[in-house]
């Protein structure tokens, strides 16, 4: 009898996890980082590996930091939106290329278009930890003082971009 109870036990465990999972929204986790300075880092630039970039370089500008990877399927969903946004030239968009391989990342940008002013390479995901990245894609809006103002988990949508991020960015610019 006991061994026939095993499937039930496994299932009960699974239901427990699913019940907890229901309370967590994978898309809208309020980040403790919103309102705090963006964690500092110094990382090589994807297209020019000998140069390095730090968020300090962006002081005085309102900018977007988009976490992406060539292996990430949802990134392809939001990507056309980023490309279109970059063409409007409203604000700089920087990419954080997360746990990716350099050649694959470059090929990906070639294929889908490169909306980024530059992308930095976070090959082992260390900086991603500082930023609380849990899934790719994620997008951060960072103000002129280097403070994170908004965090989007999961792909951007036209609605979020037009109704939340852009108005907030415009307000911050003033």
């Amino acid at each position: 009898m006991k061994r026939f109870l095993l499937p039930l036990a496994i299932f009960i465990l699974l239901v427990g996890f699913l019940a907890v999972g229901l309370k967590l929204d994978p898309r809208e986790v309020p980040s403790p980082l919103v309102g705090k300075p963006a964690p500092a880092f110094e990382l090589p630039i994807l297209q020019q590996p000998d140069k390095r970039f730090t968020p300090g370089d962006m002081r005085g500008k309102v900018w977007l930091l988009n976490v992406w990877a060539s292996w990430c399927v949802s990134c392809r969903e939001e990507h056309p939106m980023l490309v279109a946004l970059s063409k409007r030239g409203l604000m700089p968009i920087l990419g954080l290329n997360y746990k990716d391989k350099g050649d694959e990342a470059n090929a990906w940008l070639k294929q889908f278009g490169n909306p980024y002013d530059l992308s930095v390479v976070d090959a082992d995901g260390r900086i991603g930890i500082d930023y609380g990245v849990y899934g790719v894609p994620e997008t951060y809006l960072i103000d002129a003082e280097g403070v994170i103002r908004y965090k989007q988990i999961g792909p951007l949508t036209a609605a979020i971009l037009e109704q939340k991020i852009l108005p907030l960015a415009m307000a911050l610019k003033k």
């Binding site: 009898m1 026939f4 109870l5 499937p7 039930l8 299932f11 009960i12 699974l14 239901v15 996890f17 699913l18 019940a19 907890v20 999972g21 229901l22 309370k23 967590l24 929204d25 994978p26 898309r27 986790v29 990877a69 292996w71 990430c72 399927v73 949802s74 392809r76 969903e77 056309p80 490309v83 279109a84 090929a107 070639k110 294929q111 889908f112 278009g113 609380g132 990245v133 849990y134 899934g135 790719v136 999961g154 036209a158």
Partner: protein, 653 residues
């Protein structure tokens, strides 16, 4: 008015499902013939009312009734008619209605094609399915009413998601759901047998055609989805290990294991507990898949707007149905008598090993799919699991399964003959080795993984052929079940060849092309003729034209498109594909880069069609096996003895 009729029909269907579940289960348990007799007409009545509801929703979409919230949010007056009808299942509410419709179709089928079964068994089966229908109908009526009105009515709708505006949307979801939900029949059979205590070879024989039929639909549904992703998304890939893809793949894996385990239970009376457990798991995974997709606990490209109330409802339903059946299993399984004995080298042990491998593979897929959720729930951080995990875990588990599938049909039941098997396998091994060595030579590049893949593919193909030859030589009768099995196994071989060759030899180039530019790839020349604007029914398209030539001979004129859908303003890529048996030429349009120049991506994908052709072969094999005469013969015999059954059918037709 029409939406209200639909809403009312759903309520009637719920009442019928409740009556069905309560009366027929009680009737079967207490032996009350009057209650048992309710099962068939109630199931058929439930089908009629669900079909009316579905028809009403489809009509609301067809006639652009934007006073229905569901229509206003998922359709648009400029949407072409076929997609307006397909939009019926494009929303959360609509896809649930499709789910229930499929369940009702299966119930109708069981009620019509079950005359060879004892009445109380039919009552139990339909009663269990009725319980499931109660859950889903009340889920719809209480949390996701597809007929909710929007007052005042919208002037026009917000349009169907452009990704879904494709012929794939017309066929893929119904096929997939038909398969998904079809496992409810095997599940209901298993629960009925556990309740009844009649868990024997007859039970397995009844379940087999139903399980195989559901599996056939699921196979076709998954293959269609994969093909759709291939040509619609413009990424050139065909499988992404996305949570929703996994949700449909897990029941497929267990369904495959179940089909094989049922064979042992029918032929040898063994593995009864194991088979019942697989039948419960297969349908549980269908329910779990519904939960994962509909509750939004995981992020996915398929994710829809979600409401936590819905998640809790499905989770409770899940807990009741699956928890209840696993408790029943724990309570009753130990009473089942062990089946026939068998040696280590026997078809039984091969099939057992295979179904364990499939179960473990399914477990690995499930772990990868739910891992982000587990970590998150334990507060250990948030991560996402990508294709590298799935590929590195899944492939090594499937390789031995494929090796076994090549040998299995050659081994006798109960006790195999090792010497004879070795003789037969010699030829299989030689064929597999030759294929693995020489096919890569033809492509001019060798890699260990390529050869491994081809070795497995030729192994299963040669093993299958040998099994056919052995059967012909022995003058034994070849029935369609046997032929179907061989065909399905051959389909696996074809499928593996497709994957291996695409993975090993696909080539692609990203080009910046101005009108008149020419580029070459894999012996083909691509001339870019330019891009012109082209208005579609509900979108504006930029259509490129690319002339593909080989040795001066024109092979194809390809017209990849970039579309902007007017209502939702999403850009969509429509790749242009010139398909063939040995290769696909795949061209997609990137971005305009100025002066009439565009980025263009060209792929050559050798043998990619074999992936879907392999799936279709598997499905056709399943169809052949399910239509075997011995399942029909039993029915025809019963026809003669049960004339009243035709009356029942006639009254609802």
């Amino acid at each position: 008015m029409i939406p209200e009729i639909g809403h009312f029909s759903l309520i009637v269907a719920l009442a019928l499902a409740l009556a069905l579940a309560a009366l027929s289960l009680t009737g079967a348990a207490r032996g009350i013939p009057g209650f048992v007799a309710v099962a068939r007409p109630a199931a058929q009545g439930q089908f009629v009312f669900v079909a009316i509801a579905f028809g009403c929703l489809a009509w609301s979409f067809y006639s652009n009734d934007f006073s229905v919230l569901n229509v206003a949010s998922n359709s648009n007056s400029s949407l072409p008619t076929a997609y307006r009808i397909a939009a019926t299942w494009g929303s959360h509410e609509g896809s649930l209605l499709l789910w229930v419709l499929m369940l009702s179709i299966w119930m109708l089928a069981v009620s019509v094609f079950s005359r060879s079964l004892p009445e109380d068994m039919v009552a139990r089966i339909l009663g269990v399915m009725g319980l499931i229908a109660v859950g889903f109908l009340s889920f719809m009526l209480f949390t996701s009413n597809p007929f909710e009105r929007l007052l005042p009515a919208a002037a026009d709708g917000r349009d169907l998601n452009p990704l879904l505006q494709d012929p794939g949307m017309v066929f893929h979801p119904p096929m997939l759901y038909m398969g998904y939900v079809g496992f409810s029949v095997a599940f209901a059979f298993a629960i009925a047998a556990l309740l009844d205590g009649r868990l024997d070879a007859t039970w397995a024989r009844w379940s087999r055609p139903w399980t195989t039929a559901a599996w056939v639909f699921l196979t076709i549904g998954i293959a269609l989805g994969s093909f759709w992703a291939y040509y619609e998304l413009g990424w050139g890939g065909w499988w992404f290990w996305d949570p929703v893809e996994n949700a449909s793949f897990m029941p497929w894996l267990i369904g495959t294991a179940l089909i094989h385990s049922l064979a042992v239970t029918e032929k040898r009376g063994a593995f009864k507990n194991w088979t019942v457990l697989l039948a419960i798991i297969a349908f549980s995974l269908s329910l779990l898949g519904t939960f994962l997709v509909r509750s939004g606990v995981l992020t996915s490209v398929h994710a829809f707007a979600t409401d936590p109330k819905r998640g809790i409802f499905i989770l409770c339903f899940l807990a009741v149905v699956i928890g209840g059946s696993l408790s029943l299993y724990a309570w009753r399984a130990h009473r089942v008598e062990p089946g026939g004995r068998f040696e280590l080298l026997s078809r039984e042990s091969m099939l057992l090993a295979n179904s364990v491998l499939l179960l473990v593979a399914c477990g690995a897929v499930m772990l990868g799919t739910l891992y982000p959720l587990f970590l998150d729930a334990l507060g250990l951080g948030k991560i996402s699991v990508g294709p590298p995990y799935f590929e590195s875990v899944f492939m090594p588990l499937m390789a031995p399964a494929i090796l076994l599938a090549g040998i299995g049909p050659l081994v006798a039941w109960r006790r195999g003959d090792a010497a004879q098997l070795a003789r037969q396998l010699r030829w299989v091994a030689i064929a597999a080795l030759l294929g693995a060595l020489f096919v890569p030579l033809a492509f001019g590049r060798w890699a260990a993984l390529t050869s491994t893949g081809l070795l497995l593919a030729f192994w299963i193909l040669a093993g299958t052929l040998t099994a056919l030859v052995v059967r012909i030589k022995s003058n034994a009768k070849i029935n369609s079940a046997f032929l179907g099995m061989l065909l399905a196994h051959a389909g696996v071989g074809v499928f593996v060849i497709g994957i291996t060759l695409v993975k090993s030899y696909e080539t692609e180039r990203d080009l910046r092309m101005a009108p008149g530019d020419t580029a070459t790839l894999g012996g083909y020349s691509f001339r870019f003729e330019g891009v012109h604007e082209l208005p579609g029914p509900n979108y504006a398209a930029a259509r490129g034209s690319v002339t593909v030539t080989r040795d001066g001979e024109t092979i194809a004129l390809l017209a990849p498109e970039k579309r902007i859908y007017r209502v939702q303003q999403n850009p969509m890529t429509e790749a242009a594909i010139n398909g063939g048996i040995s290769r696909d030429i795949y061209v997609s349009l990137g971005e305009a880069v100025g002066d009439g120049a565009w980025t263009v991506r060209v792929h050559i994908k050798p043998f990619i069609r074999w992936i879907w052709f392999g799936c279709l072969t598997m499905a056709f094999g399943g169809l052949l096996a399910a239509s075997d005469r011995r399942y029909r013969a039993a029915r025809r015999r019963e026809d003669a003895t049960a004339p009243d059954a035709t009356v029942v059918r006639g009254s609802t037709a």
